[in-house]
Symmetry: C2
DNA sequence: ATAATTAGTGTCAAATTAACATTTAATTTT
DNA sequence: AAAATTAAATGTTAATTTGACACTAATTAT
C-alpha cells in the first residue's frame, strides 16, 4: 500500500469554463495568454490551487480575478489529468463551469486580461486540452439543465419568455415551439410576471418576469424537465 | 499571474465508490484500513495518482487491485480538496464511482483486503470525508441514471424484469408500479427476452432478459427516462 | 390608416401516464 | 391428484400531457 508516500509531484490547477448568454447563442469567455508557454494563444482562465485553499475557492478566486464577480453559480465538472496534457510539467486541472449574466458585467471584463466572449459554435483554437474541457462542460451543462432549472442563472434578474426560450434553443441547439414551451413554463410556477415590458427587442414588447425564488430553490433540488422527450443529445 | 511556479505541494489521490446490487438494496464496497492513520476504520478504496498515470488509470488500477475486475463502468465524480480534509497532509482526492455486478465477483473480494459490502442505507462510520464522497456519488448516480440506462451495469448478463424493477426502487428509494414499469421498459426495445427462466426467486419463475447491446449503445448516448415524472429527489 | 413584426393565448387530436384488475405458470400443501 | 399459494405477466381505462397547429394583440414604421 503506497498511501502516504510523497511520490506524486503533481501540480494542481483549476480552469474555468465561463458560460454566458447574449440573447442569441451560448457564449464562452476566453482569455489571450500574455505569458509563456503558448503566449498569445486563446485559453480558458485558470490558476493553481494554493496550499491553503480548496479547489472551489481557487476557482472562485480565478473567476473573480477575471470578471470581478462573486457568488456566481459554479459547478465542478471533469478533471483533466493526462500525464502529457501539458508539455513542460505535470499539471492536473479541475474544471469548473460558471454561469454568469453577460449583459450586466461586460464592462468589468478586459481590464487586466484580454478577454473575449465567443459563441460555443465557433471559438478559436485553444491551448492544451481546453477545447475538450469546454466540450465536457457543455455536455455537463446540458445534462444538468435537463433536470434542474439552472439556466436561469444565465439571465438577468428581469427576463422575458422569448429570452428563456432562445436560451434553451441555444444551449441544446434545437428549435422550440414557443407556445408549448411557454405554457409549460408558466404552469411550473417558476416565474412571476412583472408589469414592465422589454421594448428593446420587439415592437410589441415582451413582459418581464422574475424568478419565483421560493419555487426555484425548491425545484433546484428536485428534478424538472423542460425538454421535449424526443430531445437528441448529439448535435 | 502565478502559472508555472511550483507553489502547490499537493498530493493527488483517487477514491473509488464501488456500487453493487444484491437484489434488494444498493450496496457500497468498503475496506478496513490496516495501516495508519485511522487503522481499523472503514473507508473507501483509494490510492495515489502516480507520476506517469492519469487519474482514470489510477482509479482503474485501484479498482482492479481490490476486485480483480477490469473494463468496469466507471465515471469521474466530484473532487474533494478541502485543505483540512486529512489531518497530516494535503491530499486532494478525485472520486470515481464504479458499477459492478456483485453476484459474479464476490469470490475475488477480501483476498488482500478486508472488504465488505454495506447497504447504502446503513454503513459504518468512515474516515475523513468518505461519507460525503458516497453521498455525492449516490446523487450523481441518480442524476445520470435518470437520463441514461446505466443501471444495467449493475446487473448480470442475464436478468429478470423484477430484478431491474427492484434495482430502480433501490437506487431511488421509491416504490414502482411493476406493471407500468415493465410495459415502458419493453417498449424501449432495450431488452431481449430469453427462453430461460429464473426459478430462484419465485415459484412461477421470471423470464431472463439480456441487453440489446445495439440499442443500449445508442441509448447510452442519448437521454432516456425511466422515472415517473413526480419522482422526488430527496429521500 | 395600413403594413409589418413579434408576443401571447387558444384549440385539439394523439400519445403517454398512472391507477387499477385479472390471468398465468409454476410450486407447495393437503 | 386436486387445491391452495405465490409471484409473474398481461390487460383496461380515465386522466393528463404532449405536439402540432392557428389565431389575436400590441406596438412601430411607412
Amino acid at each position: 500500500m503506497e498511501y502516504y508516500k510523497e511520490d506524486s509531484a503533481i501540480l494542481l490547477a483549476v480552469d474555468c469554463i465561463i458560460f454566458g448568454f447574449n440573447g442569441e447563442s451560448l457564449q464562452v469567455l476566453l482569455i489571450k495568454r500574455d505569458f509563456e508557454p503558448e503566449r498569445n494563444k486563446w485559453s480558458l482562465m485558470g490558476g493553481f490551487v494554493q496550499a491553503d485553499e480548496s479547489p472551489e475557492l481557487a476557482a472562485s478566486r480565478v473567476l473573480k480575478k477575471l470578471t470581478g464577480l462573486e457568488n456566481v453559480y459554479m459547478e465542478q465538472c471533469s478533471v483533466f489529468g493526462d500525464p502529457k496534457r501539458e508539455p513542460n510539467s505535470r499539471v492536473v486541472s479541475i474544471c469548473y463551469f460558471a454561469l454568469i449574466d453577460t449583459q450586466k458585467y461586460t464592462h468589468i471584463l478586459s481590464e487586466e486580461y484580454e478577454a473575449k466572449w465567443f459563441p460555443l459554435q465557433d471559438y478559436p483554437a485553444l491551448i492544451f486540452d481546453h477545447d475538450q474541457m469546454i466540450a465536457s462542460a457543455q455536455h455537463r451543462l446540458r445534462m444538468k439543465a435537463a433536470l434542474y432549472p439552472i439556466l436561469f442563472e444565465l439571465l438577468p434578474e428581469k427576463f422575458t419568455i422569448p429570452q428563456i426560450s432562445a436560451l434553451y434553443e441555444g444551449v441544446y441547439n434545437i428549435e422550440i415551439d414557443k407556445r408549448n414551451f411557454s405554457r409549460k413554463l408558466l404552469a411550473s410556477d417558476l416565474i412571476i410576471k412583472l408589469d414592465e415590458k422589454d421594448k428593446e427587442n420587439s415592437k410589441k414588447g415582451a413582459f418581464y418576469f422574475k424568478l419565483n425564488t421560493a419555487i426555484y430553490k425548491e425545484k433546484i433540488m428536485s428534478f424538472l424537465r423542460y425538454l421535449p422527450s424526443w430531445f437528441p443529445e448529439n448535435s
